[in-house]
Amino acid sequence: MSNLFWNSLSRRRFLGVTSLAIGAAALGTKAKVMEALASSVADGTAVQSIRNVFTSCGMCVNKCGVIARVRNGVIEKLDPNPHFIKSRGMLCARGNAGLDMVYSPDRLKYPLIRTGERGSGQFRRASWDEALDLVAKNLNELAEKYTRAGTMFVSTEGFQEHFFTTFAECYGSPNTLRHPTLCLSSNIQGFSATFGTNPTPDVLNADYILMSGANRSEALLTPDSIDMITGEGGKRKIVYLDPRFTKTAAKADEWYPIKPGTDMAFILGMIHVIVTESLYDKTWVETNTVGMEQLIPHIQPYTPEWAEAECEVPATDIRRIAREFAAAAPKAVYYQGRRSSFFDNDTQMRRAMAILNVLAANWDRPGGMVPNSKVKLEGHDYLAPWYEDVPERLEKGDVAYLSNKDGSWKYFRDRVLEGTPYPVKGMMIYKQNPLVSVPNRAKTLAMMEQMEFICTIDITMNDTAWYSDVVLPESTYLERDDPIESLGGILPVVTTRNAVIPAMYESKSNLWIMQQLAKRLSGEIFESFNFTMEEYRHHQLKGKPQIAEALELKGVYYPKTTPTYGKFDGKRLKTRSGKIEIYSAKYAKKGLDPLPVYTAPEEVPQGKFRLILGRNAYFTHGTTAHNALLDDIVAENTLWLNTREAKRMGLKHGQMVRVKSPLAEEQLRLQVTQKIRPDCVYLSHGYGVLNKKQQLLQGKGGSDAALVEDKVEPISGNVAMHQTFVEISAA
């Protein structure tokens, strides 16, 4: 009956109940609250039960440190953990809004089994046993019919995702499909091909920062978003390229509304200046890199004047910026950003970025590109059973460098739809919401349509859950004990999650769900899950009592508070040559361009606009749009259109418009603004949902996933989301 109780309380009331609680306990007015609190502190007797629990935020990928305050069993407030050096002791709007993830009336509360058509939203409540039995039965049948590769396992990052991928491996499916090819895989590929790893820019100590579309004021990344603003700013300069005047642009020293897809031309132009004017540290480059001799002739045609014609940043500025950048080196950094799913040349664009960083000789230096440190924890050992005759990954060979763990969404989905080389008919989903996050929603729907069984584990009835056969309610990040997690970076930290309150309703941790499924599949599989979270955590910290102690006392462990630079000096890098590779022999061997070769993006056709995507600081991907506290800040996405274009087309700010791409048509409200290039339109991600359950999102905004075509970057398999052209008309 607990669910009914929560249904009957409106959101407003929830916050009201707690305020009444505090009011009643503290005898009425706010002035009295103060007195009561003051006196309770004075004589050391708390009036009521108040607990502070260290935990980690789960609203996005950053995992900032949180202190949750619980009053009489209700989470009252999430505060930043001041000791948490990675997040610099802050908590953003989403982190603060975490309360609504727990107390949202739209939460998934108990296992559901579909009764109507897929997508009809008709489910019935089921017991855990029934639901789990059904999932296990289907997994067994699917393995029987289509081999164990016939079920795909879709998931995204989180402290308990590991158990899901382990389960996939133990079940025997090679087909795990994660988020990186919707995000940063081309970034990782380009930088790793150069440095052997994807290093972290030392934003705090850099004197000169160049950013291409890395919107750090809105796509918050700790500690970069903070360091960008609060770093030693005396000599600091930020040059920012973005087709939109974002909040990062507002904070930058210079902003250029660069033509989308031409950042590589800008970078090559800079490299040209630095190389031809010999503005780089030759000795350093000679000792630490390979391929400079190939770069020098390669870069000759890429003059700033040539670059200007491509990217629309004036040649004089490119020249000046290149010289300023070189002068600031090695404390100059071309910040690579995170999401790089922009264009089909993205890996090579990131290669160019990496090479520019190489020329700044900033590798492993203060204010430069610093390889990540990570605190090593004891790994969880498991032995996945061996199954004969399970084929390779479905999309194996489709991508130049495919991650076995992550796969490539675009190619994988195409293969499922083709049914080659073998059919995939089962879908297990944890935490990812592909109907919102993967471009070309129609294809995702078609893929799900041909599935014989779909099971989603999530905390809310999102679109993907809506189209599933079995929906399992996971407990939120504030209701679970999670594994100890080591977060890499320039200053690595170790953190964890402690259940702030017991799991509400019938929600369960993912570990519990995996254990129950494992048990139902086989004893051999269950062997890999036969432990408690406590045992697991204990094992992770074996021989490291200092970490356990720090987690207990401060909620976070960090081995150092100042960065260590130069730890790779004289050491072999994880590249073929062991050195930094300006020229990539590995790429050459695969028939890829060993040095970045510029290809111009397709021109925007007459009468159309390039659709670009992005974020604001008030929600994370497709996961937090349905949060009442954040909904108060931004309720829907709007279509940005340049003032000049709007005037030309006779469109008014605030009116509804149709956005038509080759795939779909969406309607949303128009935002007329000078903050965008005239040839582009922009919308933020996560709206225009299909489900009828998430109350706050009904009829709000338009879906980017429906509009955006599934173009792809072939080296990393990352999608290219900025290559869709749309028509705009009044609705």
Binding site: V61, T156, E157, G158, E161, P174, R178, H179, P180, C183, L184, S185, I188, Q189, S192, G196, T197, N198, D344, E378, D381, L383, A384, P385, W386, V390, K396, G397, D398, V399, A400, Y401, S403, N404, K405, D406, G543, R572, K574, T575, R576, G578, K586, K589, K590, G591, L592, T599, P714, I715, S716
Partner: protein
């Protein structure tokens, strides 16, 4: 059009390369992973006889050298229980996940 051709070329190359690499090595890396975890990791963890070892400890070259030249010199008897095919599988797994392998870093 040119770009499409370029993409297809890249794809073709990558397919051919992967296939040829597989043919040359011939092992099944997944089976290799299973065998490695089942048999080798007992000794190759912290505090055990073999010391910490993982595929990413060595480069692809040194793994190849290990499997063709060294052949577990330190404790040849541990080597004996594997069939030729098993060793090929393990070698493939180690090679595929070596320090300088093509396996990209990931997120989360």
């Amino acid at each position: 059009m040119e770009r499409i051709v370029a993409c297809i070329t890249v794809l073709l190359f990558s397919v051919i390369f992967t296939v040829s690499a597989m043919a040359a090595e011939g092992g099944n890396p997944k089976k290799g992973k299973y065998l490695w975890k089942k048999n080798c990791k007992v000794c190759h963890v912290a505090g055990e006889e073999g010391g910490v070892l993982s595929p990413s400890t060595k480069t692809q070259k040194s793994w190849d050298r290990f499997f063709t030249k060294n052949k577990h010199k330190k404790k040849p008897e541990a080597w004996g229980k594997f069939s030729e095919k098993d060793l090929k599988d393990i070698q493939q797994y180690m090679y595929d996940h070596a320090m300088d392998s093509d396996q990209p870093e990931t997120c989360g």
